[in-house]
């Protein structure tokens, strides 16, 4: 077993969550890294869909952006941006939406818009929504991958850019949203899943060497821990090799 960083553990854990044949709508950054590792390891049939308009991209390096030319050159089909949203995402053809977040709250709501209470005068202006609101709404389920700190993992997001479970307790269904929303959150510390009733995120696994106390300290709400807490298997040398090769190829 090699040495590895917590970021590498997170990427590998996220990659493992994807399985072959799934259609995955890939956000840029951490989600793209994880999805590409999955396709290069246990899930070669994983279908990668990017909002720049590519269906079935098979990049041999990490794309530098969602509009990287390699995504188009290796795709089964290149389509317009309106088409990717209207014909492919909106009707529920995508199994998994794979998203990052600047802020994530205990009900899986995502903020990538502003930090601070005042939208008009924000503490920090973030990039905004991009494709995320409709990815979160229309994919069968959503996986979120995010580095966990008390600032990113909050009780309530300052701004709901992408709706997760709202205030929980079935609010998605009441709003008529057809996808299941965030069913899995993977951080550099562990793994979270929504409670089936309350839809609050519950710690269901920790990465090797991480304590529940560490997770609690990096969580901005009173953390619930699952009765059966798993420990993520450490990255295999194969997984690490693929991850590092992908990252190196994209320098």
């Amino acid at each position: 077993m090699s040495e590895y960083s917590s970021d590498e553990m997170m990427s590998v854990a996220a990659a493992r969550a994807l399985s072959g044949g799934q259609r995955c709508f890939v956000g840029i950054g951490l989600p793209s890294t994880a999805a590409n590792v999955a396709r290069r390891t246990h899930a070669p049939d994983l279908v990668l869909i990017y909002e720049s308009g590519t269906l079935g991209s098979k990049p041999d390096r990490l794309p530098a952006s969602i509009g990287d030319g390699i995504l188009a050159e290796t795709a089964d089909a290149v389509i317009s941006v309106p088409e990717v949203f209207n014909y492919w995402l909106q009707p529920g053809r995508i199994d998994v939406g794979f998203l990052g977040a600047a802020q994530l709250d205990k009900f899986g709501n995502i903020n990538t818009t502003v930090i601070g209470d005042d939208y008009a005068d924000p503490k920090v202006r973030l990039p905004g929504a991009g494709g995320a609101p409709e990815i979160a709404a229309n994919c069968h389920e959503v996986y979120v991958v995010v580095r966990q700190t008390r600032r990113s993992f909050v009780d309530k997001v300052d701004f709901v850019t992408s709706f997760g479970h709202g205030t929980g307790h079935g609010e998605r269904q009441r709003l008529g949203l057809r996808g299941a929303g965030p069913t899995l959150v993977i951080t550099d510390l562990g793994v979270f899943r929504p409670d089936p009733d309350s839809h609050e995120l519950v710690l269901t696994g920790v990465h090797p060497g991480v304590t529940v106390e560490q997770v609690r300290e990096a969580t901005g709400w009173e953390l619930t821990v699952a009765d059966e807490l798993s420990t993520t298997p450490a990255p295999t040398s194969d997984e690490l090799a693929v991850l590092r090769a992908l990252k190196e190829a994209s320098q």
């Binding site: 840029i28 909002e51 720049s52 308009g53 590519t54 530098a64 952006s65 969602i66 509009g67 990287d68 030319g69 995504l71 188009a72 050159e73 290149v78 317009s80 941006v81 309106p82 949203f85 209207n86 995402l89 909106q90 818009t113 939208y119 005068d121 924000p122 920090v124 202006r125 973030l126 990039p127 905004g128 929504a129 991009g130 494709g131 995320a132 609101p133 409709e134 709404a137 229309n138 701004f159 709901v160 850019t161 992408s162 709706f163 709202g166 609010e171 998605r172 709003l175 008529g176 949203l177």
Partner: protein, 271 residues
């Protein structure tokens, strides 16, 4: 029919102070040279429209060309934030920047409605988010057949849309391929349009995945090789990732940025 002209001539003719202007391009084929020409000609009070405002919009905003931005994702892709955009939103420097914020799906459909001659588009979007609370161009609409509630967004019809493409022929027919983004819709939605191209050729050989905008759907074409730099033009150039990283440094500091603007303003125009 599209007329083939110089870039400075086209910008002088088509882009007016106070216009709603879209420079579209989804990472690929971004009309950066045209953006710099707008800075050079010191346009003011523009409402800038783009799904993914990145460096060239950061530059336009920093140079004080814009009073409003309509967008869905503003960042330096693969690098981080847009510092001039943040400075304008958070500190009103050099002038205050109003924003109208959507999602990609909403913006794409707003262009589709604009291209289609419809006043609005319908989508499954924004439900449960805070965007409708801060953006008044998002409204509910009821299906007259099922009674279901969906979301409506108004058409975007820019005064001018500018895009970059690989080629045009001498008649002004424009061809682009690779990631085609929302460029066709943005051009068709606009009152006036300019396409900068890598080269003007005698004949447009068909290309897999290529689309053609007929000459009569475009107003002006300007030959601007490398006009998408630091973004790329598939088949012509590679993305200059170092420039994106370097921009982070330049744009963090107002003084450094102003030196950059002065350089752009004094660039020799060879077109």
């Amino acid at each position: 029919m599209a007329e083939i002209v110089s870039l400075p001539g086209a910008v002088a003719e088509l882009v007016r102070d106070g216009d709603v202007v879209a420079l579209e391009g989804f990472t690929h084929l971004i009309p950066v040279a045209a953006g710099h020409e707008i800075i050079r000609q010191r346009r003011r009070e523009l409402t800038l429209v783009r799904m993914t405002p990145d460096i060239v919009y950061d530059q336009l905003i920093g140079a004080g060309c814009a009073r409003k931005l309509i967008f869905s994702w503003g960042g330096n892709p693969g690098v981080g934030s847009l510092h001039r955009f943040r400075d304008a939103v958070q500190h009103g420097w050099p002038v205050p920047l109003e924003i109208e914020e959507h999602s990609h799906a909403g913006m794409a459909n707003r262009y589709v409605a604009g291209a289609s001659g419809l006043p609005f588009a319908v989508l499954r979007g924004y439900v449960g988010t805070d965007l409708p609370n801060v953006t008044d161009t998002i409204k509910p609409i009821t299906c007259p057949f099922t009674g279901e509630t969906l979301t409506a967004v108004p058409a975007l019809n820019p005064d001018v849309t500018i895009i970059h493409a690989q080629r045009a022929d001498r008649a002004g027919n424009v061809q682009l391929w690779g990631l085609v983004g929302v460029q066709k819709e943005a051009v068709l939605a606009a009152r006036r349009s300019l396409v900068t191209v890598e080269e003007v050729v005698d004949e447009l050989a068909p290309v897999p995945g290529g689309i053609v905008l007929p000459s009569w759907a475009v107003d002006r074409v300007a030959e601007v090789p490398g006009g998408a730099h630091p973004s790329y033009a598939q088949g012509y150039s590679e993305r200059d990732n170092a420039y994106y990283a370097a921009w982070d440094t330049i744009s963090r500091d107002r003084d450094e940025f102003e030196r950059w603007v002065e350089e752009v303003r004094h660039e020799r125009v060879q077109l």
